[in-house]
Amino acid sequence: MKTTTLNVGSASPAAEPQQDSRKGGKRKTSRINRFMVSPSVLVLALWMVIPLSMTIYFSLIRYNLLYPGDNEFVGLENFRFFVTDFGFMAGMSNTLMLVGAVLLITVVLGVLISLLINQAFWGQGIVRILLISPFFIMPTVNALIWKNLLLHPVSGVFAAIWKFFGATPIDWFSEFPLFSIIMIVSWQWLPFAILLLMTALQSLDQEQQEAARLDGAGPWALFFHLTLPHLARPIAVVVMIETIFLLSIFAEIFTTTGGGPGYETTNLAYLIYSQALLQFDVGLASAGGLIAVVLANIAAFFLVRLIGKSLTEKQ
């Protein structure tokens, strides 16, 4: 790529001296080429700067849509209110629980299942298709199918299974609300882990595996010394990308529990939504939004470093 830039930049006269007119055209083209990235940069910059600076501004003033006109500067008061509100601690701990539990479930099961399907057996292609399917189901469908058809305490499939074994059916969404949310979100994101890890496993060096096996390495040694190190980076990618999306889980909560009972399934995203669009407190919601941005940035920091590293390795 360096040679191209040089060639174009200095328009090296040695190359084809007879095509001077075309050379001029080429130089202009390459400048255009470099600027073809600008529209994307521009719209993304606007998308970042305008709403975010508005959020920062709103977070510093008193601003409730129910009381228009009363917009004085209040400093960090919105942040103080947001952080000391009872919902905040619940929202924070639910967010962390949700992200942590779903990550644990999807990564552990994801590794096990992708190992399981990484060997030849009858119908492998169909099994893969079945396994990745939940990822393509829209979140609102996921939530309602689970809530009604599967987890319903009377007519749900789980209730029937419980009864079959002589146990009392569980009213999942009132007895274990957060666990139920974790379950349905994990169902949706497990295929993502499987999809990435399965692909990563396909590039595992088979000859190296075979050689290690011939040297007498057992399945555990193979797993811990060859497979797991090979999967380290894809696992890190899964963790980081899921974290970004799981921090903002919204539709699954909106359609099942509405954050309740009490604050039991209210995560940060849902808390901010309810303050903004249910209580119309723009200032408070903006302060909460900024806290969510900071949290996501902590996760993003590591992701960008990770992917940045792979970007340089590729060359």
């Binding site: 080429n33 057996f121 939940p134 903002s248």
Partner: protein
């Protein structure tokens, strides 16, 4: 005593059976949704749940009269295709430029684009809502197209970029030497060479827009509401229309499920921002 070979093939068989068991368990909710969509409402709510019943198609025929399914489906189609087309028009030139005319800033630009994806939607929900309210974009398809284009653009650029990177630069240079214009170079050389990758990019963008359920729930009411919002409206407790919910859900998910199956291998790249291939 089994020989080593026999033990190995028995092992493979058991693993296969286990894999099928896991796959069927994970797929079960989708299968059950499909099954329920062919039940009457009474069968759908029966205790215990019925595996065998006399199937009916009435849910599918009733769905449109009851909930104006086509209106919401049309909104989903317009919004996903609209944002995908605009997104590709922005992403292809950007990825082309960064893949073939790399400068010192290219890597930084790519990472910065990725970082815009990290902005949690709740962080900008309030200003976007108010801006949309003031400009009349609230509950319009145009509004959703703008948002979806912006949130999917980084992924599309990354995906196209990693595919373009695999094309030897010499091919494009040769076309340029032969005197093709920029447009010809992209249209006749670059696009045909990367059509598989770009098709996957289009599919990923369609899937993500079709299933998006934060902005669609917050920014639309009825006029521009896509299928995600229609299905959310079934969450209200009054009236248990499980069979109809299942029929609507099946219709809403089927096309995307098929897209996902077709492009599963290529999607990995887009979903992992090129880190896993």
């Amino acid at each position: 005593m089994l020989s080593l070979k026999q033990r190995r093939s028995l092992n493979t068989l058991l693993m296969g059976v286990l894999a099928w068991g896991v796959a069927l368990a994970i797929f079960f909710p989708i299968f059950w949704m499909l099954l329920t969509s062919f039940k009457t409402e009474i069968d759908a709510f029966a205790t215990p749940p019925q595996l065998f019943f006399s199937p009916t198609l009435e849910n599918y025929t009733l769905v449109n009269e009851r909930s104006d399914y086509l209106h919401f489906a049309w909104n989903s189609v317009v919004v996903s295709f609209g944002s995908t087309i605009i997104g590709m028009m922005l992403a292809v030139p950007a990825a082309y430029s960064m893949a073939f005319f790399e400068t010192k800033r290219t890597k930084g630009t790519l990472l910065w684009m990725l970082s815009t994806k990290m902005l949690p939607p709740v962080g900008v929900l309030v200003p976007i809502y108010l801006l949309f309210k003031d400009t009349g974009l609230l509950d319009t398809k145009t509004g959703l197209v703008i948002i979806y284009t912006l949130i999917n653009l980084p992924i599309m650029i990354w995906m196209a970029y990693t595919y373009f990177k695999e094309i030897p630069k010499e091919v494009l240079e040769a076309a340029r030497m032969d005197g093709s214009t920029l447009f010809q170079e992209i249209w006749r050389v670059l696009l045909p060479m990367s059509k598989g990758g770009l098709a996957a990019t289009v599919l990923l963008s369609l899937i993500l827009s079709w299933n998006e359920a934060f902005w669609s729930l917050n920014l639309t009411a009825s006029e521009a509401a896509p299928l995600t919002a229609l299905i959310a409206s079934y969450s209200s407790p009054e009236g248990l229309f499980w069979a109809k919910l299942s029929a609507v859900s099946t219709l809403a998910c089927a096309p995307i499920l098929i897209f996902g199956w077709i492009s599963q291998k290529q999607l990995v790249r887009g979903l992992s921002f090129g880190a896993v291939k």
